[in-house]
Symmetry: C2
Subunit: 295 residues, 2 copies
């Protein structure tokens, strides 16, 4: 059981005991949940967590409950040895690595669902996904009992969903969000990028290009009613994605960052979101935008 | 804000702060959730809680989410002044009395569902009820952060459901169960008993009589296969309830105490459960039984 030594912990009870000992000394605990196959986006979250709390807990768990298909779960990239070596260089106090078999007890029947924000866009495209996310994060929060939950802006709807869940279920945790980390060509870092073929990888940066085209459209058409500006921005995003012919567009939308509904008429801030399916991987990205009319 | 003085607390943040101060001193916290209109069953739970932990927190909250109809919610008996005077005589360190408006934030969309045990009998008779129970108890556990959750055996399926939820969602709480407290004529104490007319009240003890008839049947027919003995016991319960003509029987069953499914063929312990609707109130009761063949 080499993994049980040092900061690597597989037992929920053992992790909770360790965290409670830290808390008893007055130390704050920051928690970064991941599905492993770590990239610089994860590591930037870990760094931010380490700057804002005395202790950092990272979880590595490919949660079967949040995959709509067994094929997608099977294909999800994994490299625990590489994750281990990356985290060894980071300031991490505990790495929680439960096994799927032990983390979901036989006869597991309890689920956490978030309606509203959880039903739109990603929720509609990936039935059951957000219930899987909400359920596993509830479990992880109950095991880790952190003061801060660190999430990446790349998964913006997941952030909105978990903020809503934390409020609705009274979790005593502060949700913190780290910015999307990008490759030099603009592609948002994601564990799924590893699955892209060379041809797909060449077209993948068009998601971010589409978001920038949407932002440019909003800035240029600053004077009209919001609904019309939104339609123009969505058209600009779709037009940009024509240059990624390998991608099938799931959606390109301007939404309210909290509800993922259409922004209210007087909204000052919005979020451009895009999701596209390449043959080898489905990618998502987003960009915060100001909705104040340009002068 | 007289209610905010002393042990009466309406603010979740204030309660959590107080509980955390106790925990920091190494004190254990026992929690007794109630919907108020307290009776000796509740008070016996409070006494047991006080004997097993340094601090006792009681919540009084008529949870709108667990009522299937507005009419039932409106009719649920309430008497905060009486509850206050009863709790003043008990060893209680904090009474959490949130308001429905503040406890469920505007836009609340998150729910906890428990399939399996949550779908049978009471779950089938009262759609949405157990989701309301699981959701409010999740919220209360997150606010109170207790070491022990005290529940009454009278609501046996609720006990089974919450034990399952606590396990599935990794809540760090020990579920403890206090026995059903009965009136001298056998009627299980329940806040809903207050709604019964005199004629209904006279017939209400037949629920417990039916359970005892079921138990007698199981003891007498100790030799046959369990499925046949179960049918005979259920028949005996229904026969006893003929003497409560004002009651409409929802179910009278022998079940597994954890899953509320039919007991497995080799099961050694079972639970007889009964639910009946009087015109003024729906009542439930249950009795643990040994399933070992008599010699």
């Amino acid at each position: 059981m080499a993994r049980e030594r040092g900061p690597w912990i597989t037992s929920p009870a053992r992790l909770r005991e360790r965290v409670r000992a830290w808390r008893a000394r007055g130390e704050r605990i920051a928690f970064v949940p991941t599905m492993g196959y770590l990239h610089d986006g994860h590591l930037s979250l870990v760094e931010r967590a380490a700057r804002s709390a005395e202790r950092v807990v990272v979880s590595l768990f490919v949660n079967p409950l949040q995959f709509e298909s067994r094929a997608d779960l099977a294909r999800y990239p994994r490299d625990l040895a590489r994750d281990r070596s990356l985290l060894a260089k980071a300031r991490v106090d505990a790495v929680f690595v439960p096994s799927a078999a032990s983390f979901y007890a036989p006869g597991h029947v309890t689920h956490v669902t978030v309606a509203g924000v959880g039903e739109r866009l990603e929720g509609a495209c990936r039935p059951g996904h957000f219930t899987g996310v909400a359920t596993v994060v509830t479990k992880l929060l109950n095991v880790v009992e952190p003061d801060q939950l660190w999430l990446g802006q790349k998964d913006a709807q997941q952030v909105a969903l978990l903020k809503r869940m934390v409020q609705d279920l009274d979790f005593a945790v502060d949700v913190r969000v780290g910015p999307t980390v990008r490759e030099t060509d603009g592609l948002a870092m994601s564990s799924r990028n590893a699955r892209l073929t060379a041809g797909e990888r060449a077209q993948a940066p068009m998601l971010y290009a589409a978001l920038r085209a949407g932002r440019a459209s909003l800035a240029a058409r600053g004077a009209g009613p919001l609904a019309r500006r939104a339609l123009a921005a969505e058209r600009a995003m779709r037009a940009a994605l024509v240059r990624a012919p390998l991608a099938h567009l799931d959606y390109a939308r301007l939404v309210d960052p909290a509800t993922f509904d259409a922004p209210a008429p007087g909204a000052r801030a919005g979020l451009l979101v895009v999701a596209a399916r390449f043959p080898s991987a489905r990618l998502i990205d987003n960009l915060k935008v100001s909705l104040r009319p340009a002068r």
